[in-house]
């Protein structure tokens, strides 16, 4: 029964023990390390920040062109360019620590050992609320297999990480699979504290005059509103398969979009490509959720998690 509310709706959620003041996070790779948005978004207003993927050593990324616009979306093949975990800790994290917002560090590697080493470097560092493990970048091949599309490999990787860190672990799943629930369960079985989904869909565009792919990398990851229906479906499926919380993402532009994910079963949401469309998207989504709750006389956003009913 909806509670009659006198005050502001309660937006706070607990994400695997991490208290978020609201369920809105920034999606990895679309918000840098936060500082880039200093003139745009007040980080204190966000539930949290998921930073750009961090690896053991600096990675220079793919050659340009790296992006291409598509109908209601975009392709990217950045190649996970990043300065490496040490530079992250010395130059990027201190800025983020100044804010009252949860910091989730997105990590990845080219091998299981790489991943573990990054996790170990981040262990015990103040100001880090949790790790999001990217096992799903369409462009990272690891030991001949792509972790994110092989259930066994992802289980081993996540199990090893579970041993390496006490930080809350979120497995970021790939949508480029036949059955998302297999991967969701493997992550849960490996001891992950939560899931993050979806990463980008593998896509491609061709320049018909040059007769060449639009991206130097040939294929790239599709993100943006175009993929939202696929993302909502996968969150819905995963939420029914596991009992750990989910960070839902994929094409969220507005509060209504975010609420779709929450109703499908996400405890929190991440805003990605929308940051490029409207740099205020994260704040707007958080405010919009609050306005929706008020309008519908719902006391807390927690009442909505997973509440979509089958007709």
């Amino acid at each position: 029964m909806p509670i009659k509310i006198k005050t502001q709706p309660d937006l706070s959620v607990s994400l695997a023990g991490i208290r978020l003041k609201n369920p809105v996070l920034t999606a990895s790779g679309t918000f840098g390390y936060g500082e880039e948005f200093k003139d745009v978004v007040d980080l204190n207003r966000l539930g949290g920040v998921i930073v750009k993927g961090v690896s053991l050593k600096a990675i220079k990324g793919n050659p340009p062109p790296r992006i291409w616009e598509t109908p209601a979306g975009m392709l990217n093949a950045i190649g996970l360019e990043n300065p490496g975990v040490d530079v992250f800790l010395s130059d990027k994290l201190p800025y983020l620590r100044r804010f009252d917002t949860a910091v989730l560090v997105n990590i990845f590697g080219y091998s299981l050992e790489d991943y573990v080493a990054v996790a170990e470097r981040l262990e015990g560092v103040p100001g880090i609320a949790g790790l999001e493990v990217n096992i799903s970048c369409p462009n990272v091949k690891a030991g001949g297999i792509v972790f994110g599309t092989n259930v066994k490999a992802s289980f081993s990787l996540l199990s090893a990480l579970r041993k390496a860190t006490k930080l809350p672990l979120f497995a970021k799943l790939s949508p480029n699979v036949t059955d998302i629930t297999e991967f969701a369960r493997a992550a849960e079985d490996a001891g992950c504290d939560g899931l993050s989904l979806i990463n980008t869909l593998l896509g491609m565009a061709i320049d018909v005059r040059c007769r060449k792919p639009r991206l130097a990398n040939c294929t790239g990851g599709l993100s943006g509103p175009a993929i939202r229906p696929v993302a909502v479906r996968m969150v819905w499926q995963a939420a029914r398969a596991v009992s750990i919380p989910i960070i839902g993402m994929g094409g969220i532009l507005t509060a209504e979009d975010a609420l779709e994910f929450i109703l499908a079963g996400a405890t929190a949401v991440a805003v990605g490509t929308a940051n490029f469309v409207n740099p205020h998207a994260t704040e707007d989504v958080a405010e919009g959720i609050s306005a929706f709750l008020a309008e519908e006389h719902i006391g807390s956003v927690r009442e909505l998690i997973g509440q979509a009913r089958i007709p």
């Binding site: 840098g32 062109p65 209601a72 040059c210 940051n275 490029f276």
Partner: protein, 278 residues
């Protein structure tokens, strides 16, 4: 009312054909206008819908009475085609000023501005702000691709001298803009005070950089790449640098010391006729 330092709602106060395929757009956005420096750009949303979904980058060609910015653009694809239908009085969202802008030359330097094709807008703004009058080179494939007459006029009013070249000789002198630049540099007693700023097609900027480097003349280039965010977070606008790795055009650029750019990197960007070039 800007919602933050870089995000603005601007009113279209002028929008018209400017000749030679260019359109001129004036946007009232006081905070942006008073902050903007030559060489900086804006990310303009050409539609309120999500088709297209990304904003488009445009260099600022002038600041008008600290209230408005002026842009010149060519219709080359879907986004610019949509933009060309926007009417006076309409509101557009944009971000800016973005990027680093041109470094100011020393007081006694001789600034040389080299614009190729559609690369003139930021140089126009720069010319108007320079303390010492620059020498300006305007190059194009042919007369129809040249800088519009209003912009040439504006250049003349700010420049010590304006040289015009077209590859086919249909306007100005026949030949490449680099030929004219070389002739000028090699005949000038002020060469050791020269600083070159160029903006235009990649191939032209590479050639200008070589002319400059060969003569030990400092030179700066304003680069173009596809952009998604304009804020330095998507890493989409990278250009290869000689030191290895990449720099972001929107953040470390768009203006770079020409010597840091790895000109050998292969790049594909659309050109105005809709066809693609290497």
């Amino acid at each position: 009312m800007p919602r933050s330092k870089v995000l603005h709602q601007a009113t279209v106060t002028a929008h018209e054909a400017a000749g030679r395929g260019f359109r001129r757009l004036v946007l009232r956005a006081p905070e942006l206008a008073s902050d903007a420096r030559p060489g900086q750009f804006v990310m303009l949303r050409v539609s309120a819908s999500i088709d297209p979904i990304l904003a488009r980058p445009f260099g600022i060609s002038a600041v008008i009475r600290r209230q408005a910015i002026e842009l010149y653009y060519r219709v080359v694809g879907k986004g610019t085609a949509l933009l060309s239908t926007v009417e006076r009085g309409a509101m557009l969202s944009l971000q800016g000023p973005l990027g680093n802008g041109f470094p100011e030359p020393d007081r006694d330097a001789l600034p040389i501005l080299v614009a190729g094709g559609s690369g003139f807008p930021p140089l126009l703004f720069f010319a108007a702000r320079l303390a010492s009058k620059p020498v300006v080179f305007l190059g194009a494939r042919n007369k129809d691709c040249l800088v519009p007459a209003t912009a040439i006029k504006c250049c003349r009013s700010h420049a010590r001298k304006v040289y015009i070249t077209t590859d086919d000789g249909s306007a100005g002198k026949a030949g490449f803009v680099t030929d004219a630049l070389t002739a000028f540099l090699d005949g000038s007693r002020e060469r050791d005070r020269a600083v070159i700023y160029s903006c235009g097609p990649r191939a032209m900027m590479a050639a200008v950089s070589k002319v400059a480097a060969d003569r030990n003349v400092p030179s700066y280039v304003s680069m173009e790449e596809r952009m998604a965010c304009g804020l330095g977070v998507c890493m989409g606008c990278s250009v290869a640098v000689k030191a290895g790795g990449y720099k972001r055009v929107c953040k470390e650029g768009p203006v770079f010391d020409a010597r840091v750019i790895d000109w050998s990197e292969h790049v594909v960007l659309p050109v105005p006729n809709g066809k693609q070039v290497k």
